[in-house]
């Protein structure tokens, strides 16, 4: 799979080189796509385009679909109330039937958020190029795969040709060394990194996360980190595969039959010593506290034991204006301690933090406690399989006894395309990945946090530092 080259190469370069179908000076490279994940929101127009041009899907067997953005997280046996949502979900089902594509539908226990089911079913593998019409496709980079989001026109291109046109991005190494303190999670780590390099710090780059802190992360933690690469402007973020990766994959339904042989090939992927990145930054994990976003982009973030900034904390006039606008939208003055912020809603879910380890971490904090009277809190597992496992472990009982709503799998309140949304002015602690204006509902005020911080906030009714909280 990887050809030997005369110079040391990064993980990114090895994968890129191995997927070139055609390269020409001054043109975009044609890259082969190993896995094309599809969901209902960005595919309808692509399939229609195929039909209009009289084209078929070149590799249906490399295409996997599920409905996740629109799906209600309440009782699945009931018909979908929103007619337009229903139409979009039905359209995906019809298209998959017509073009012979594997589709994990609502009645399939393996249905879920596309970036949760791909890895858990073993579709996502090291060394692959994986694309999907969704920017959080960067999640799959956790396996040492080059994975990124594409627009609907590109979805159509991949369906028709199993390739994608790309200019080669630059490489950015984000190296994190040291130990995360107790109570500080992968979600806090990536929020901290985005705060440091800002929401366009990664634009034009493919990120590789390296360092001892990254090596120590579990696969689900790595997925949380890679998931939010796009929020720093990087369309892809990767972590080189290692034994943790191979152990995770063993036994999953769609991994190669001869896994040992595949592992031997995958072991050639990690970045060679002496290989160069276009840019590198280094960070000390021990400096990271639990994080809370305060503003209207993920880069506007502070430690949970910190205070909300004021515009005068910024030098650049555009940044001052952004800060002022964010404070106004979020109903904040600037200068108030994060721990003063009272919450109306709490959402545990999304492709960032809805896997079994996230739910276990949340349940650990929730056990034996009660959600505050003025908070409405919900837990949405990332897939039917995660839900099943959580119920086998009794996590659902812990959540329900504490007063959380326990739901079916889907994107849910991450982006409010389904019935789960914030009302105007509601303040929400969310384990999702975007806090843009109106993201979770028009006028909704989103604060991005880790599962543990979210649960603690649900119980206390305001933000607390889980490291010190009893």
């Amino acid at each position: 799979m990887t050809t030997s080259a005369s110079h040391p190469r990064t993980l990114f370069e090895k994968i890129w080189d191995a997927h070139v179908v055609h390269a020409e000076e001054e043109r975009q490279t044609i890259l082969y796509i190993d896995l094309h994940l599809v969901h209902e929101v960005t595919s309808a127009q692509a399939f229609e385009g195929l039909r209009q041009a009289g084209r078929g899907v070149r590799r249906p067997e490399k295409t996997v679909a599920t409905a996740d953005h629109n799906v209600p997280t309440s009782d699945r046996s009931l018909p979908i109330v929103d007619a337009i949502s229903k139409q979009q979900i039905d359209t995906l089902r019809d298209n998959c039937g017509e073009f012979d594509i594997q589709h994990y539908d609502l009645d399939d226990p393996r249905q879920g958020i596309v970036h949760v089911i791909g890895p858990e079913l073993g579709y996502t593998q090291p060394g692959m190029i994986i694309v999907c019409g969704d920017s959080h496709t960067s999640t799959h980079g956790a396996f040492g795969a080059l994975s990124f989001g594409i627009g609907t026109s590109e979805v159509e291109h991949v369906l028709a040709t199993q390739t994608l046109l790309q200019y080669k991005p630059k490489t950015l190494e984000l190296r994190v060394d040291g130990e995360l303190s107790a109570g500080v999670t992968a979600k806090d780590l990536i929020l901290y990194l985005i705060g440091q390099i800002t929401t366009d710090g990664g634009t034009g780059y493919c990120v590789e996360y390296t360092g001892s802190t990254i090596r120590a992360l579990t696969m689900e933690n790595r997925m949380t980190v890679c998931n939010m690469s796009i929020e720093a402007g990087a369309r892809a973020g990767m972590i080189a595969p290692d034994q943790t990766t191979y152990d995770y994959l063993r036994g999953r339904p769609f991994v190669p039959k001869d896994l040992d042989a595949a592992v031997e090939l995958w072991k050639q992927l990690p970045t060679d010593s002496g290989a160069n990145y276009d840019k590198s930054h280094t960070f000390d994990a021990s400096l990271i506290a639990p994080q809370v976003t305060w503003g209207t982009n993920p880069g506007l973030v502070v430690p949970v034991n910190g205070v909300v900034p004021t515009p005068s904390d910024y030098e650049d006039p555009t940044e001052q204006k952004t800060a002022a606008g964010a404070l106004e939208y979020m109903g904040l003055t600037g200068g108030e301690p994060i721990s003063d912020l009272k919450l109306d809603r709490v959402f545990i879910g999304s492709c960032t933090n809805a896997r079994i380890e996230d739910l276990r971490a949340a349940a650990t904090v929730a056990k034996g406690r009660k959600v505050s009277d003025h908070v409405d809190a919900m837990v949405v597992p990332g897939s039917g399989l995660v839900k099943q496992q959580a119920e086998e472990e009794g996590l659902d009982r812990i959540f329900k006894e504490a007063g959380f709503d326990w739901r079916e799998a889907g994107c849910s309140m991450c982006l409010a395309m389904n019935p789960d949304k914030l009302s105007p002015g509601e303040r929400c602690a969310s384990t999702s990945n975007r806090n843009f204006e109106g993201r979770q509902g028009k006028g909704g005020r989103t604060h991005l946090v880790s599962p543990a911080t979210a649960v603690a906030a649900a119980i206390a009714g305001h933000f607390v530092d889980v490291r010190e909280w009893e």
């Binding site: 975009q28 409010a416 975007r434 204006e437």
Partner: protein, 196 residues
């Protein structure tokens, strides 16, 4: 796809940075299964008051912005979600050209698929254009893709960069899929080599 060589048009100035695609086209409008008709939903939450009537202070509602086909904004325009519905909405509304100090990657790429030209200029040049848009309002600029220039009728002129192949496809209205399929034999060769 519509070809683009040069365009002169009125400028709508949006003095905001990090304009994300959730603002450009909010999620409730992503449920549509057709490619067209998104223009009326452009910047929905900024464009409307509580009661659904047009927000009088929204930049695109300024009298000088009427009929605008050029959007001027600050850095990191189009960040966030990959939704191609964002360029569809801008294009359907009437924009042909976007000018900013920087664009998010996926959004930038999506623009070219829809016959729209995103132009990256320096922060200084963008500052200058914002000044001129208030001084000479209503304000028009000309973008010439053939000659790589952005200019106005009041003495402003600067060059911009765009990858040669993107420029070629945009100027000739070329269809990506058709171009790739000219190399179909190479795709087949790649697949065959893989299965050995």
């Amino acid at each position: 796809m519509k070809a683009f060589t040069a365009h002169t048009g009125r400028v709508a100035a949006m003095d905001r940075a990090n304009v994300d695609t959730d603002q450009i086209i909010p999620k409730q409008f992503l449920k549509r299964i057709e490619r067209t008709g998104f223009g009326e939903f452009l910047f929905w939450d900024w464009a409307k008051l509580e009661d659904g009537s047009p927000h009088p202070e929204f930049e695109l509602h300024h009298p000088h912005a009427e009929g605008a086909s050029v959007l001027l904004a600050r850095r990191n325009f189009g960040c966030g979600s990959s939704r191609e519905h964002a360029p569809w909405a801008l294009e359907d509304y009437g924009f042909r050209i976007l000018i900013a100090p920087s664009f998010a990657d996926i959004f930038y790429n999506n623009c070219f698929k829809n016959g729209m030209l995103p132009i990256q200029l320096s922060e200084d040049h963008v500052d200058e254009l914002f000044l001129r848009s208030t001084k000479h309002g209503p304000y028009e600029i000309t973008a010439d893709l053939e000659n790589h220039t952005v200019s106005d009728a009041h003495g402003f002129s600067t060059k911009f960069e765009v990858e040669p192949f993107r420029r070629h496809c945009l100027m000739n209205g070329l269809d990506d899929i058709g171009l790739t399929l000219e190399h179909a034999h190479k795709i087949e060769a790649f697949e065959n080599a893989r299965s050995e």
